[in-house]
């Protein structure tokens, strides 16, 4: 599965939202109904699924679906 699809899948499961809402510009908090702890948990899930560590200062910048996809692509060297 490519990074983008996997990221979307994680978001769908974690936030319990329908797949068509998980578009790059969707904000976790404003559009997908996440609270601030949900966003922290999402990042924890990315860490687990992709086997990486996301420093707190990077995690704070991941606010939209697109932010997450871009960050993970970059982190995994596939940008």
């Amino acid at each position: 599965m490519d990074i983008e699809a996997k990221v979307k899948q994680i978001i769908v499961n974690k936030l319990n939202v329908s797949e068509d809402k998980v578009v790059p510009e969707a904000s976790f908090i404003n559009d997908l109904g996440a609270d601030s702890l949900d966003t922290v948990e999402l990042v924890m899930e990315f860490e687990k699924e992709f086997g990486i560590q996301v420093p707190d200062e990077d995690a704070e910048k991941i606010r939209t679906v697109g932010d997450a996809i871009n960050y993970l692509k970059q982190k995994l060297g596939q940008a």
Binding site: D35, L37, V40, E41, M44
Partner: protein, 248 residues
């Protein structure tokens, strides 16, 4: 309270005083208990030996609660050995009493770093795990001194009042994840900390306390046990004062 059976607890500063009593009471309830100690190796070992007799698992890890790396190392080690952490008791604390006029900057810094930053360190190290498992009990040991003050203890009072504010904020942050965060605020308890008081001070103290005696460490530990059990799942962000009526 059988629901504590199989739970894993960390008690900071568990080799002596109130922490020691908490470690024992939790172990007797069936918890696996990890205590941390800063320097009292021998006393820590005694606690571990004693707990092992109760048929509960016990472990002692050296750690300075003022250091974040130490807290992280303890948490990693506990997860490696026990696979989870259900209960965190932030108990480690020191005093460096002096009138503010004579209080040195290091008296202030040492007390704030061990007592208040120590609570941040261990809680920060453990919270991710508790959020993921959707379960956790954090009990911070403060003091009535953090509520009513005490001359000669501006540093200690500030650290304990700080713990109360921290607890209330965190309780609101993590309540939706089934994590409860509370404070137990003891009055005067029979420990090495109060042994330092002279007879005159003790006499005056007893006159002030409606119960006319100071607490045994177990009397604090039983309240901690209640807050660690699922019987208290709807209590969070609270300060439970255990002081024989001192602040009533």
């Amino acid at each position: 309270m059988s629901d504590l059976k199989g739970k894993v607890a960390i008690v900071t500063g568990g080799s002596r005083g109130i922490g020691r009593a908490i470690a024992k009471v939790l172990a007797l309830s069936g918890c696996s208990v990890v205590i941390t100690y800063k320097s009292s190796v021998q006393q820590a070992q005694e606690v571990v030996d004693e707990i092992s007799k109760f048929d509960s698992k016990a472990m002692a890890i050296q750690a300075d609660s003022a250091r974040f790396e130490d807290a992280q190392r303890v948490v990693d080690e506990v997860l490696k050995n026990f696979g989870k952490i259900d209960i965190l008791i932030n108990n480690a604390g020191i005093t460096r009493d002096n009138l503010l006029l004579r209080m040195s900057e290091s008296d202030w810094d040492d007390v704030i770093e061990t007592n208040l930053k120590g609570v941040f360190n261990f809680t920060k190290a453990v919270i991710k795990h508790m959020i993921s498992q959707r379960y956790g009990k954090i009990i911070n040991i403060a003091s009535v001194v953090g509520l009513i003050g005490n001359p000669g203890q501006a540093n200690y009072a500030a650290s304990k009042a700080g713990i109360i504010g921290f607890t209330k904020a965190l309780a609101k942050e993590v309540a939706s994840r089934n994590i409860q965060v509370n404070v137990v605020a003891p009055g005067y308890v029979e420990t090495e900390m109060t042994e330092k008081l002279n007879e005159e001070q003790k006499k005056r103290l007893f006159e002030m306390i409606p119960a006319k005696r100071i607490a045994k460490p177990e009397e604090i530990a039983y309240v901690v046990k209640f807050l660690a059990s699922s019987e208290s799942d709807y209590i969070t962000g609270q300060v439970i004062v255990v002081d024989g009526g001192l602040t009533a």
